[in-house]
Point group: C2
Chain length 479, copies 2
């Protein structure tokens, strides 16, 4: 016998009908919703009410207005490459921003790009490159991740050390509020003190306060030279010495400083057996280091045919090799070799999730405590789950570790997560560095975030989205 329709179903049907009337075939239901019914990790699955794919800000506003009138939840989604379950949408209108994919303007003399929230990160990279400029944010999922998601989560990545997080690259925003009103903060200015900084409030709010639809982004001059190497050091302390010496010598030209332990190198060799390993033998501490420069004094090929930047890197490596701190090093001699180094690093998400169940801890600790963190966390995890294996990959230059624990029993998931948090907070770190809170870190937020800060967040959420329809159940735990 068929289940009778409840009030929620009737309201849902009315919302779909109203959305269809306004947006036509931009509204998807049934099997067409499949790509919006799971996230990239495959860990979360849900059944949306419907999916809408508006083509402009006005249509996004219409969606919000209709949903607001009916009190129906709306979950914004752009590239859905998130790792924290930030786009779960059981019974919700999935508001896909993928069609807001226009790079509206690049003004090279002002070094700004005006983009829609649906623009794919690597498309922006390519568009900026035409003008010898770059948008320096980058990470493994760059070919699928869209700017709306980067903005909503304040995404990090491999170049934060030099250029900051996503929020540091944003000059202006446009967003649609829960009730459909559009807020215009599309400034291009570097100095603009006009009341509360709503831009920074919306960036990183994970779609719970507003739907970001457009942005003005800072571009920087494209590096004219890179010097890239894989380096093996005896210890993590030796690696930090390498970082500091390079920063001193170049005045801060280190763009990436990525740590991959032995287990990671081995996992990558299994994933891609054809990839040529950087060293003839295996080491415990492997670093991908990259310097970059725009200025002629560093980047122009000298009379000896070499780029000065590479010379700096080789000089510091030789110095530390002499001191016994560097064990081995391979400097990239071609773009292909540089790309191969990066491909290994950018396989991180795939490697991390190659075993299930896996707990993906995205933590940050002060730089000089990374080694202690790994020791302490390892011991705590093994005490809970003797057979657990850990898989680390880290943006060592900013103390951000993806400390993944492979378990045999998912019941150990929460205790492991809590133990890792304990260690992180003991060391003055953060339980959530760059992936965001979403669903998976909600319990951590409730346990670990300053309670007054949580109250402030709840008050702000209530003030800007009183019906609680925007991405409900994410980011801010209930009181």
């Amino acid at each position: 016998m068929e289940q009778p329709l409840g009030i929620a179903d009737l309201r849902g049907a009315a919302v779909i009908e109203a959305l269809r009337a306004a947006l036509g075939n931009a509204v998807l239901t049934g099997a067409d919703m499949a790509p919006w019914s799971r996230d990239w990790t495959g860990q979360y699955q849900w059944t949306p009410l419907c999916v809408v794919r508006p083509r402009d800000t006005g249509a996004v506003s219409t969606v919000m207005r209709l949903a607001h009138a009916e009190g129906v939840p709306v979950v914004p989604v752009s590239g859905h490459t998130g790792l924290s379950g930030g786009t779960l949408g059981e019974g919700a209108v999935m508001l896909s921003l993928d069609r807001l994919d226009r790079i509206e303007e690049i003004r090279p003399e002002a070094r700004v790009a005006r983009v829609g929230a649906g623009v794919i990160l690597s498309d922006l990279h390519a568009a900026a490159a035409v003008y010898d400029l770059c948008f320096p944010m980058t990470f493994g999922a760059k070919g699928s991740a869209r700017l709306g998601g980067l903005l909503a989560t304040n995404a990090g990545g491999s170049n934060v050390l030099r250029y900051g997080n996503t929020r540091d690259l944003v000059l202006g925003l446009e967003a649609v509020l829960a009730d459909g009103r559009v807020v215009d903060l599309m400034s291009e200015l570097h100095k603009n003190n006009t009341g509360y900084d709503l831009r920074h409030l919306l960036i990183g709010s994970e779609g719970t306060l507003a739907v970001i639809t457009r942005a003005v982004l800072k571009l920087t001059p494209a590096p004219r030279a890179h010097a890239t190497a894989m380096v093996a050091t005896e210890t993590l302390d030796g690696a930090l010495m390498l970082l500091n010496r390079l920063q001193q010598m170049t005045g801060g030209a280190v763009e990436a400083f990525e740590y991959m332990p032995r287990a990671y190198m081995e996992a990558h060799a299994r994933l891609d057996p054809a990839a040529r390993p950087p060293f003839d033998t295996g080491y415990d501490v492997n670093i991908l280091v990259e310097l970059s420069a725009t200025a002629p004094r560093d980047a122009d090929t000298g009379p000896d045919g070499a780029v000065p930047l590479t010379g700096y890197l080789e000089a510091v490596l030789a110095q530390l090799y002499g001191e016994g701190l560097v064990l081995d090093a391979t400097v990239a001699r071609s773009d292909a070799q540089r790309a191969a180094f990066w491909a290994r690093r950018e396989a991180a998400a795939e490697i991390s999730l190659s075993h299930r169940p896996a707990v993906v801890n995205d933590v940050a600790v002060p730089l000089d405590r990374v080694a202690r963190f790994l020791d302490m966390a390892g011991a705590r995890v093994r005490a809970i789950a003797a057979e657990a294996r850990d898989m680390t990959v880290a943006h060592l230059g900013d103390g951000n570790l993806h400390y993944v624990v492979w378990l045999e029993d998912s019941a150990q998931r929460d205790p492991v997560m809590e133990a890792v948090e304990d260690v992180v907070l003991t060391l003055g770190g953060s339980f959530s560095a760059e992936h965001g809170i979403g669903t998976s870190k909600l319990a951590s937020m409730a346990r670990r975030k300053d309670p007054v800060a949580l109250d402030m967040m709840r008050a702000i959420k209530q003030a800007l989205d009183p019906k609680g329809i925007l991405n409900p159940g994410k980011t801010v735990p209930p009181a």
Copy 2:
């Protein structure tokens, strides 16, 4: 005959009594309140209910709790060097942060300082210098301005071009809410995505959402060399060409790029007749340019006894002189000469207010529209007040102009301000770049800020300070 005491007076007396019971002689009344009864510009004067000078966060919390219980307004103040009337406190408790003046810790290896809100900016400069580090924010009032004020207003200054605004130099905060609760956001991490960014919300909120009591600040390596010059160019476009060439050659080592027109140079000569002018003759466009470097390749004295950085500067100046774009230049040959160049620039506030009435417009426009702004604004102002004179000084490197208009009749103040705003917005600029809104720009906020943004600000204010006791009547205009 004596005025009978009203209810407000009785409540006021009760609040003073309660504050005295809790804080003793940290509570000032009567003539002792004089320094807290006017601002630096002398344009605003008021009579506070009392002044409190707490010594720690706990005492600040006590003040807020008592004031909140009684619904009495509280106006936080630190160095009161503001230019926008942000600390008017008629009938309010003036909450002075000047005794929270402890530099709690400088951790050179982590490049952070933990400071109280009452620390004077130049004291932090001096403390960081001991470790060969610097806190790069700087401006004329650095000897009196305190960090609480810098944070509350997101202060700008002369080095924003290279290091960003105050908010870009802050890792963590502690603040006291309207009801006395303390929120702990004292993170030292560069990556920390744990919910809404309350830090950025409080920075720049001008004491209307919370009282900032402590902060974790980023330090940077102290420059090992400077190259500083006064340069006269034919036009502002020529000056921008100088900026761009220097940035290209050095990979972004320009730390300051300050514009002073002929009228400013003449006003300074009147103010300080003993100061030696940089050029033998007067020019229309005068630029103070400063490069700085930490890396040995730029900063170490070479075999010829010269610092490479100075060589870069001289090479670009020679090039542009050859092209007719630079008319004259004096490169500083000593620390004393460098200091003299800076003293001229840092007399800006004094020069601007040497004539009253004066309208201080603190605006920003895209770099390439600065010249157009000056032409258009001048014409508009003269149409309103034929005898008005303007006095400009600008952080040209980030498009921020202090466009001061000297009037003969204060009735022209508002029409002039509105005309300048018109021009600014036509050119895609902001009516408030770095001084903040306070009282003096409140009408501009009401006229010019996106109305939905204003509604969001009002909702946030209501959510975090429902009784409206924190710095009432500032920053966010009433609906």
